[in-house]
Symmetry: C2
Amino acid sequence: MYLGAKSATDSGPAAPLPVRCAFCPVRRQGMCAALPDDALRGLSVFARRRKLEKGQTLHWEGDAVPLALAVVTGMLKLASTAQDGSEQIVGLVGAGSFVGKPLGGTTHERITALDDCELCVFPADFLRDFVAMHPEMMAVLFEQAIADLDSARRWMRLLGRGSASERVAALLVEMASRRPDETRHRLPLSRSEMADFTGLTIETVSRQLSRFRHADIIALPSRDSFEVRDLETLTQIAGMTPGYGLH
Amino acid sequence: MYLGAKSATDSGPAAPLPVRCAFCPVRRQGMCAALPDDALRGLSVFARRRKLEKGQTLHWEGDAVPLALAVVTGMLKLASTAQDGSEQIVGLVGAGSFVGKPLGGTTHERITALDDCELCVFPADFLRDFVAMHPEMMAVLFEQAIADLDSARRWMRLLGRGSASERVAALLVEMASRRPDETRHRLPLSRSEMADFTGLTIETVSRQLSRFRHADIIALPSRDSFEVRDLETLTQIAGMTPGYGLH
DNA sequence: CGTGTCCTTGAATGGGGTCAACCTGAGTGG
DNA sequence: CCACTCAGGTTGACCCCATTCAAGGACACG
């Protein structure tokens, strides 16, 4: 169905990498990093850049997955909804990460932009064929699935056993660990989304943040940013050894 | 390092399947089902049958994973431990399922037998090489990782948002769904393990079970078994029906 | 028959939920 | 410029459900 990709892949080593790939901020991350230039050229033929505005939802739980995507900039959330309408966020996806089921199947999560995002989107059909031709890519996807599983299981422990302060601290550490060199970080989640992720209420999240602020562990210069003032204490509260993020 | 497997795989279509595979109860499930006889013969060369007694732990969180395994009979739990010693079970693994990281990496979970188990164990090094030669096997492992991820995320929702009755009901439904035709089921988890899995205390688990029993939703003929008397109500409770009162 | 382990049940406690009031800042219109 | 609105966030008071603490039961073991 997308077999044209084969010839594109084989179109000779001299052909240049498309500009969008050559200068892509995630060229050296995740899925794309695993591919040599010529394979990436084949992949890029069917890749489509797409912007997703903050709050927009990409597709819905229960649908067959029509596509897979890599995040170029911004952050996405994966969330599932209960009958009663309450939402549980089951994953955060940042730049360089991949979402989707290249082998098909239905997903049970909704994908929503927390930021204005830039995505690199592939039709799932094409990707399935492409992966069949590039086993090294399958390995990368598999490893990411395993990493996602690890991270989901760490959150399970937190949700099952963690107190409110542990959960909120863990979320902050998680956000902070994505840019370890900075102390000030964007906080693309609203209080309501933080509540959905931690399994708490917005009031409890707010109270914990205030406690951390009063204890001078963090500062909250604006609604959508925070500053880590005492990372050690924060990681300690989160119940994790420092430098060991939830990914 | 295990390249001898290659010649074993190619040793001609006439060679018979080893007895332990031919009569294996999971020959048609999971990983093994994806392989034709001759490939399975190659795999079986390095497979080792091993029994694990109830309560025995196979290996420990934080270690590099030395092996991968398929469950032949019995049930395993995957659990992670917090600094304070509290345990959170992050997965139950039944017959036919696969555990491990065929591509290497460290695991953060302990693997413990809930029952007396029979396992089919592979050295991780060998499996990595074998998978490289059998892309169709990679696909199966990938799909299982995705399924595990889905299930972990469902539990995340339950742990984050579910009440005590929802969690306990969900665990019973989960156990019951493994043998849909039966109404009476083995319950290989102790109360303490049920508590670890649901993120509750043993007292709360016990109270919920008693409530279900008094409401004639289940019966508890012995400590390690239960009988579903009203599956519809049970699934309804597990599905997070808001404010369901059993008094 | 005593002892230990696991389970059940009861009563008291407390952490987080719920409800409600208030605050803050961005927009909007005069 | 201020007044107004409105959504999102904060804070307080109260309450409820699960935990904690404590006692007792069921069952297997020597």
